[in-house]
Symmetry: C2
Subunit: 142 residues, 2 copies
């Protein structure tokens, strides 16, 4: 299915931006991933097809996709940012600061907060992929 590419094309056209081979390759590499990827990983993946692509192009493309709401970015705590296509499987992470374990939670958990921000502040929160740090049950009891 090429709907991702179509969405990209649409989004780019809408804001007067260009559909370049590099952008298509980045998006296609993203679409192949099951889970989060780093910029470095994407660089390697795209270089399989096109060895001349530059890391800053990857970053700029990712920034653009994030801005368009097509990609979610998250810092899961390791000092490296993770990127992921939005919409396929909306979720968030609880990260234990003691043991480092991460638990995935559904997007519906954040809906009440979203609603509240909307009604109280008129703010449309874009929480596509949140990382919430804290202490897990096991570590608190141990």
């Amino acid at each position: 299915m090429s709907s991702d590419l179509e969405v990209l094309q649409e989004a780019l056209r809408g804001s007067g931006q260009r559909l370049t081979p590099q952008r298509m390759m980045v998006l296609s590499a993203l679409a192949e991933q099951e889970s989060h990827v780093t910029a470095e990983t994407l660089l390697d993946l795209v270089r399989l097809d096109y060895p001349y692509i530059n890391l800053s192009t990857i970053y700029r493309t990712l920034d653009l996709l994030v801005e368009l709401g097509l990609v979610a970015e998250t810092d899961l705590g390791g000092g490296v940012r993770q990127f992921e296509l939005v919409g396929t499987h909306p979720h968030h992470h609880l990260i234990c600061q003691r043991c480092g374990q991460t638990v995935e939670i559904g997007d519906d958990t954040l809906q009440p907060l979203r609603d509240r921000l909307q009604s109280h502040y008129g703010f449309e929160a874009r929480m596509d992929h949140f990382a919430i740090f804290g202490v897990c049950k096991a570590c608190r009891e141990g």
Copy 2:
């Protein structure tokens, strides 16, 4: 008031760590600030008293203080991290991705989410200073 130092001393003793002049200077510089500061700013402040302190000491001290829950760190989006003493004035930020404006919201807004994470997942979320990105009312209507 020296309660910050007492808290620090207590916390350090508990985990077998040391109370060094550098750490005291960093904490004291933090305590003088009204609002967020960057590591670089802290470096300048501490160097007023002790010109030999190293930037990595600042970062390591901040990491430690964050781990102990005394300091909150936030990336407000500018690529530079902001640090702030916890407890004085718990708050969070809504940041508009269009116009860049930030709005401060009270900590109580996040309490329902905290409660939910606690009851559903046994997870004690540490959301000391959140940055929530999205689109503000003005930008959505304009």
